[in-house]
């Protein structure tokens, strides 16, 4: 009976739950799904992380390559993120080149990297104008159940913390680079940006960490990215219903609380794999 009502009138079905201040999967309006992280599972990549946010599963693999820096920024390396939503993660995506949502997510991740200065590109430069590291961060969604942006940012952060780059020196006489694969150094992660997404219902209610169904029924979404100094890195609000300033402030403060939890989780995972 309930499932029939859910199919015919999904929005009404949802509103009944929201009136009681809870959601169909039993969570409160401000509660996040269970988050798990697994680091370093892909050994062919230089760094990898698998993040599960409830059912949403995202894997990020980082591969480092060498290239000449761009002419206008001779002392900077490159970080190239790419989010892929393959057809296996959900029926809404077709196989083939990246669709709109994947492109928007890739651009969002690129903005987060740029605004938060998670890695200073100058750190990736080995020799000015001659050689720099390129970090290709490929984020693939394995299971799409909403809140892709949070999971992708988290996976990216965990994978970058896991990256070990071989040491590169430039031989003075020959001018060629020499790579020592045996000696590896971790990346210098300056900031730890964490994204928190909200869905807006009926122009008034804010729900944290929406699932795919909730995202479809929502009238708008907001994503707030904060770093560990409680500073705002980016706010992403692609259209949707308008938000008052007070509500936005509420979102930001909740994002700051979420940041602490996520940071604790990452630190715990990194510490657990350190002794090798």
């Amino acid at each position: 009976m309930a499932t029939a009502f859910k199919t015919v009138e999904p929005l009404e079905y949802y509103r009944r739950f929201l009136k009681e201040n809870c959601r169909p999967d039993g969570r409160e309006l401000g509660e996040f799904r269970a988050t798990t992280v697994n680091i370093g599972s892909i050994t062919t990549a230089d760094g990898s992380a698998l993040v599960k946010l409830g059912n949403t599963t995202v894997i990020c693999g980082v591969k480092a390559e060498l290239a000449a820096p761009a002419v206008d920024s001779a002392n900077k390396g490159y970080i190239v993120p790419n989010v892929e939503l393959p057809s296996l993660c959900s029926t809404r995506f077709r196989s083939g080149p990246p669709g709109e949502e994947a492109q928007a997510a890739s651009q969002f991740i690129a903005d987060v990297i740029e605004n938060s200065q998670i890695i200073a590109k100058e750190d990736l430069c080995i020799a000015d104008g001659k050689l720099a590291w390129v970090l290709y961060c490929d984020i693939i969604c394995l299971d799409y159940d909403g809140n892709i942006l949070d999971a992708s940012t988290f996976a990216l952060l965990a994978a970058l913390k896991n990256v070990q780059l071989p040491s590169v020196t430039i031989n003075e006489e020959t001018g060629l680079s020499e790579v020592n694969l045996k000696q590896k150094n971790p990346l210098a992660i300056r900031k730890h940006p964490v994204a928190t997404s909200f869905a807006i219902f009926d122009d008034t209610l804010l729900i944290v960490d929406p699932t795919a169904e909730e995202e479809d029924l929502a009238t708008g979404t907001v994503t707030v990215v904060t770093d560990e100094d409680d500073r705002l890195c980016s706010v992403h609000k692609p259209g949707g219903s308008p938000l008052t300033g007070a509500k936005l402030q509420d979102c930001i403060s909740r994002a700051i609380t979420r940041h602490k939890e996520v940071k604790k989780l990452i630190d715990k995972v990194i510490k657990s794999i350190k002794p090798k």
């Binding site: 059912n55 390559e65 290239a67 296996l88 290709y136 020592n180």
Partner: protein, 278 residues
């Protein structure tokens, strides 16, 4: 090369650091000596395989297969759906396969996603996957419908296509599609002739690792329907020598598939029990 506007780009050209890796010349021929002098592995040894079905929430059926060399394949299956072409010929259903390699799956250079070579290789692998799975599925039970199978290779540690075949059949079975049997895949490779004996190539090895596959002279992938004892697909190539050698390799592959079959059945049973218990 035309610029792909849908993806973010880094520099036009980049090389993997392994190209400049310092080779230990004085350590007695370092890696090459180690490979040929290492204890030759048992050519019929099957490495441990981990399989698990029913792990994705958005797909009707899903399976994950991991080989001990590091190969990790995730596969999702859906079906049956209405066929896309209107007024299509009345006949058996169609099986649509898709095989994708993650950009970080291979050791060495990262292939550019969306490049022509990548798409060609993926199309070939998808066709091979379809060839291996079609005989196993009862397509006559789904007229005018299409079944979709989507495989993603997360890490390539050798025998990738064989693992994908096994994962795809597990995913289809997990989705509740009617099948005659599971299609089990097994890969073989033959190392090139050693330096001492230039005429005879090495023996065929079952389930090669990544290093063995890269240096091999010939490769073969066999897909078998074990309960019916019928081979559904054979894909191979290289310089393998006389036909008897290939026939022996095929027999070895078939035997390998028969030995893997109980593992996959057990995995399906556990998934069914978990689903009923939940």
């Amino acid at each position: 090369m035309p610029l792909d506007h849908r993806r973010l780009h880094g520099p036009e050209d980049s090389q993997p650091p392994e190209l400049w890796a310092a080779r230990p010349r004085d350590a007695g021929g370092g890696e090459e000596g180690e490979e040929s002098g290492a204890a030759p592995r048992d050519p019929c040894a099957l490495r441990p395989l981990f399989a698990r079905a029913g792990l994705l929430s958005q797909a009707e059926g899903s399976a994950y297969v991991e080989l001990s060399g590091g190969t990790k394949v995730l596969c999702a299956a859906w079906g049956p759906r209405e066929a896309a072409e209107p007024g299509g010929a009345v006949g058996a259903g169609r099986l649509l396969c898709d095989f994708r390699r993650a950009p970080f799956c291979a050791r060495g250079a990262r292939p550019r996603p969306g490049g022509a070579a990548e798409r060609e290789a993926e199309r070939e692998a998808a066709a091979a996957l379809r060839e291996a799975l079609e005989p196993a599925v009862r397509l006559s039970r789904y007229p005018r419908a299409r079944l979709v199978v989507s495989a993603l290779l997360l890490q390539d540690g050798g025998s990738a296509l064989a693992a994908a075949v096994s994962a795809a059949s597990l995913a289809l079975a997990d989705a509740g599609v009617e099948m005659y049997d599971l299609a089990v895949g097994c890969a073989l490779c033959r190392p090139p002739p050693g330096d001492r004996d230039a005429s005879a190539a090495g023996p065929w090895l079952l389930q090669p690792g990544e290093a063995e596959e890269r240096g091999s002279a010939a490769r073969l992938t066999v897909a078998l329907l074990p309960a019916l004892n019928q081979v559904s697909a054979v894909l191979g190539g290289g310089r393998g020598g006389e036909p008897e050698g290939w026939a022996a390799a095929l027999r070895l592959g078939v035997e390998g598939c028969q030995r893997l079959y109980p593992v996959l059945r057990h995995c399906l049973l556990r998934a069914a029990r978990r689903r009923d218990g939940a």
